[in-house]
């Protein structure tokens, strides 16, 4: 027999962002519980609103299956006499387990021979299991922040729990959770439905009960309703919505029955920068903006309501009043900020600590200027002046009213750019300031302007090196400074350059800028800052940074469609230059298609593999080489090496492969006849060192040992 289960945790309004993770956890835990309890089910689904988290299981098995269990009893010696007949001990054990003497068997265990009884354990009723599991699971649900309420007992939840509904088919599952008791009743929308509970007769009736209570349980359904209502309202007013899927999703988790109303704000605020208006509406009020037919922002706004049907004019009036105050405040901030040229804020940055022990934001600005210049010399010589200027002004907006008052932190960069224009800075400088944080999320574009790319690159390198140097190294899911994203940004920007850059040199240059900062060493954690005085520690820090960037480069290559093993082959030995690594990955994808690839790759791998045994590499002494295959490979290698290395430098990895593939038969012959690990240490070192040279040249293309067998 099977029945449907519905479990509803009724709560006071949950934070919008908590709902979906909690539901996922609920579904995951339910499936795990049903599986470990061996309860069969057809489906598990979850849905929620700010006021309820709901778990449903379709056709959940009614009683847990009976199981046969082996129960260990006394030792065989005690249970059976010398004559092999069961003793009183055996009889007692059988009786205690409710089995016949004939059901006993003897098994060998690590402790010796013991008597076992085969016992049939009846499965427990699903109702009983649920009555235990549901409260336990409710306690176990975790949230980013949870709270206590009432008497402040041990129960924690994201917000106070108000009711618990649990129905298994038509039967209410009864349990209690501190002061709360489950009951077969739910509550409707806080304002659209009556305050009285809605009785629910069976799990199958639950959805209908909620509809009756003006609750749209499905998040997807609410989002769709919001989208349609927004589009309809805009279409009617001849406007185009400023689309914002994230905001739709947030709004859907703020309401139980969405509605949309369109209102107007005073058009004089349209003189404010569009970004400020959109942000003020979005961040503070969760309100959508729209554009007119001319593509410019309209003095219209769209509010997602919680289903209010009466007094819509009043709702709009309230909202437009709030927007007026918000925009008025923004206007005040913008006007105050513009009383000073952007450059004058540099001085204020001296009072803002960047990271503990790593100086002020003013120090950072100075570093960014020098780093941007250095990067321009290598990558974008024409952009040097603009990039340097933009880099030194890049952080000024952090202390302006608009960004600094924490009201519009999302506008960092955008405000600096705007103020730069007002202060008479060059357009390229203003643009670069605007673009400095790009790419700011996964999938975001890199800056479009050359100066913007260099400032963004400088900022990211400085953040990476600075955080690592201050001991703030991401681990596991802990990455509060979003360093992974920034490292991915470094890779993306470098991939788009016309020239290559040595990551090692860039990291070293950046670390040296950090080292030059005057510090009161007495205040620093000596372990975290050992790199300041100990060159070996500094090298170790750079190696960590290189590995960190390598991981992002790896991710970028895999994302570009290269297989995992080829990416490993490409990066195994060489990951200092992004473009070069990407070119090799492309080349390798072509090389593997060649008929001679497998044979050559196998030969190359033999060379590389044997080096695991190599000690110190010495200069190869040609005089020590034996006649025959060894001398032959040496000669052939010296002949192709310059061509192969030149081809690699030119990015012609196909030609380099041609050259080296020509060594295949010589390599095979070498391994067939030459004893690399010779008795004589000099001969052995000489051979390994020679092979290291060969492997070094092969490694310019890839580490072929990393390729998966085909």
């Amino acid at each position: 027999m099977h029945q449907d289960l519905v479990y509803e945790i009724g709560v006071e309004e949950l934070p919008a962002s908590y709902i979906e993770p909690a539901l996922r956890q609920l579904a995951r835990d339910a499936e795990a519980f049903f599986k470990t309890s061996r309860l069969a089910y057809d489906s598990v689904s979850v849905a929620g609103t700010p006021r309820r988290l709901v778990l449903k299981a379709g056709r959940l098995q009614e009683r847990k299956a009976d199981i046969d269990e082996e129960v260990m009893g006394p030792s065989a010696k005690a249970a059976f006499g010398a004559d092999g007949k069961p003793t009183l001990v055996a009889a007692g054990f059988a009786k205690s387990r409710g089995v016949e003497l004939s059901d006993l068997s003897v098994k060998t265990t690590p402790k010796g021979d013991y008597v076992f009884a085969r016992v049939r354990k009846p499965g427990r009723h699903t109702m009983d299991l649920l009555a235990e599991w549901l409260p336990q699971e409710t306690r176990a649900l975790s949230f980013p922040k949870s709270m206590r309420w009432g008497q402040g007992g041990p129960l924690r939840f994201a917000r106070p729990i108000q009711w618990l509904l649990a129905l298994y088919g038509k039967q209410p599952v009864r349990f209690s959770l501190e002061h709360l008791a489950s009951a077969p009743q739910t509550y409707g929308h806080r304002f659209l439905a009556k305050a009285q509970p809605i009785p629910v007769k069976s799990a199958a009736d639950f959805d209908a009960a909620l509809k009756k209570g003006s609750v749209m349980l499905s998040q997807v359904e609410r989002e769709e309703a919001i989208r349609q209502a927004l589009e309809a309202a805009c279409a009617k007013a001849g406007l185009a919505l400023v689309a914002d899927d994230e905001l739709v999703s947030i709004c859907a988790n703020l309401v139980e029955w969405p509605g949309v109303v369109l209102g107007q704000f005073d058009p004089r605020y349209l003189a404010l920068p569009e970004a400020i208006i959109i942000t003020a509406l979005r961040e503070h009020q969760r309100i959508f903006s729209a554009r007119g037919a001319d593509g410019r922002l309209a003095a219209s706004f769209l509010v997602v309501t919680n289903g209010t049907r009466k007094n819509l004019a009043g709702v709009l009036e309230g909202n437009s009043q709030v927007l007026k105050a918000r925009l008025e405040d923004a206007k005040f901030f913008v006007e105050e900020d513009q009383k000073r040229p952007l450059e004058s804020y540099l001085e204020d940055l001296k009072t803002v600590t960047w990271l503990e022990g790593m100086g002020s934001v003013h120090d950072k600005s100075e570093r960014l200027r020098r780093l941007a210049e250095w990067l321009c010399i290598h990558l974008q010589p024409e952009a040097k002046a603009d990039a340097a200027r933009a880099a030194s002004l890049a952080k000024c907006d952090l202390v302006t009213h608009v960004v600094g008052e924490k009201e519009y932190t999302a506008l960092q960069g955008a405000m600096g750019s705007l103020y730069a224009r007002v202060s008479g800075e060059a357009e390229a400088v203003a643009l670069a300031i605007a673009e400095q944080y790009r790419p700011s999320f996964s999938g975001d574009a890199i800056p479009a302007s050359p100066a913007g790319q260099m400032v963004a690159l400088a900022d990211k390198l400085d953040n990476l090196v600075g955080c690592f140097a201050a001991g703030l190294i991401p681990s596991g899911s802990q990455d509060p400074y979003a360093l992974r994203r920034q490292a991915a940004g470094v890779v993306a920007i470098l991939a788009a350059q016309a020239a290559d850059l040595s990551l090692r040199e860039a990291l070293e240059f950046t670390l040296n800028l950090h080292r030059a900062l005057p510090r009161e060493s007495a205040k620093l954690d000596p372990a975290a800052f050992a790199w300041l005085s100990d060159p070996a520690q500094a090298q170790a820090l750079l190696a960590k940074l290189q590995d960190f960037l390598k991981a992002r480069l790896e991710a970028a290559l895999v994302e570009a469609g290269h297989s995992q093993d080829r990416v490993a082959a490409v990066l195994s030995r060489r990951h200092d230059q992004v473009r070069e690594a990407m070119a090799r990955a492309m080349a390798l994808d072509q090389l593997v298609l060649r008929d001679d690839f497998d044979m050559a790759a196998q030969a190359f791998s033999r060379v590389t593999n044997i080096l695991a045994k190599a000690g110190e590499v010495v200069a190869v002494d040609a005089g020590l080489l034996a006649d025959g295959p060894e001398k032959l490979l040496h000669e052939r290698f010296l002949a192709v090496r310059p061509n192969a290395e030149r081809a690699c430098q030119q990015g012609r990895f196909d030609l380099a492969f041609d050259e080296l593939a020509g060594l295949r038969s010589a390599i095979d012959a070498y391994f067939a006849e030459v004893m690399v690990m010779a008795e004589d240490p000099r001969t052995r070192a000489n051979r390994l060192s020679f092979l290291a040279q060969v492997a070094g040249t092969i490694g310019l293309i890839a580490d072929f040992t990393k390729l998966a067998k085909r």
């Binding site: 309004e13 206590r148 009432g150 008497q151 994201a158 106070p160 806080r190 703020l254 405040d329």
Partner: protein, 312 residues
């Protein structure tokens, strides 16, 4: 679902002014006083020291500590020097009024009680868009934190609703529910005005008449004239006095000096006399005082035998 206290069934319907619902600033206060008095709250007066919020009032900060029940409502004039706008901004002021309610322990139907109070103010939730928007409240100076919401009425934040979890660094049990109404905002909404300065205070007197010059003068004082050297000296002196008094077991006077130190810090900040780097240090100093006061207060109530606990 929580059982409803009988008193919540009928929201108060004041009609003193001849209007069905309150209109002027003072009527709004009177309705809230009456509403919460009927629901078992002591109606208290503002505490007579400058402070940033009703939370600083000892009726909240100190009384939310420990096991004893406590239900109060009071108006609190709140000073936030940095929010001064010389009386030019329609709804931002360096001094405004909160109506503060503490229900300890918070009853299960506290949200419904709050919504009933809005009905008493003529704000029927079915005719407005009311939203509970998550708000993790934290007062770094008081070492206090709680979870709850900002309550929006048609987009306007009219109330801060918090379940206190920690005060003065001490984990609380029972939990106090704190309801903080923004009185000016509510009045502006009810009176359908676009600015505080167009509101009626009461008895035919405009809000602007009462407070606008105050805003102009105090904005100048806060931003331009307050003597920072004096304030720095004050801060040090208040801190010293608070520490001394805590040691002498005079918790209540000690707490006065914590409030004073906090306000001196707020003024210094408005004057731009405290850099961003120094800010954290000053906040930590006030928090240190708040923690010591809280710990001492808990001991004080213990030594008094928790007189408000019901006798078993």
């Amino acid at each position: 679902m929580p059982s409803k206290t009988p008193a919540t069934k009928k929201p108060a319907k004041p009609a003193k002014s001849g209007r069905p619902y309150p209109y002027s600033f003072q009527e709004i206060i009177l309705v809230l006083q009456e509403f919460w008095a009927k629901r078992g709250c002591c109606i208290m007066q503002p505490y007579d020291i400058e402070k940033g919020a009703g939370t600083f009032n000892p009726n909240t900060f100190l009384r939310s500590l420990g096991p004893e029940p406590w239900n109060v409502g009071y108006v609190e004039p709140s000073r936030r020097p940095r929010d001064g706008r010389y009386g030019e901004n329609p709804n931002r002021c360096q001094m405004f009024h909160q109506y503060q309610v503490i229900l300890k322990p918070c009853p299960n139907d506290i949200v419904q009680l709050y919504l009933d109070s809005l009905v008493a103010l003529g704000l029927d939730p079915s005719e407005h868009d009311i939203r509970f928007v998550e708000d993790d409240w934290e007062s770094p100076t008081l070492g206090a934190a709680g979870l709850g919401w900002q309550v929006w009425l048609d987009g306007l934040e009219i109330t801060q609703f918090t379940y206190f979890q920690q005060v003065g660094g001490i984990e609380l049990a029972p939990i106090s529910g704190e309801i903080t109404y923004g009185l000016e905002r509510i009045a502006m909404y009810i009176q359908k005005k676009e600015s505080f300065w167009e509101m009626e205070y009461g008895a035919g007197i405009g809000y602007a008449e009462v407070f606008r010059e105050n805003e102009r003068q105090f904005s100048r004082f806060n931003f331009e004239e307050a003597d920072t050297a004096l304030l720095f000296r004050d801060f040090e002196a208040y801190e010293g006095e608070a520490k001394k008094l805590i040691e002498k077991g005079l918790v209540l006077p000690a707490y006065d000096y914590v409030i004073k130190a906090s306000h001196a810090f707020n003024l210094l900040e408005a004057r731009g006399a405290i850099s961003v780097t120094e800010r954290t240090g000053y906040i930590a100093r006030v928090r240190g005082l708040a923690r010591r006061t809280a710990t001492a207060y808990v001991k004080l109530r213990e030594s008094l035998g928790h007189p408000l606990l019901p006798t078993p």
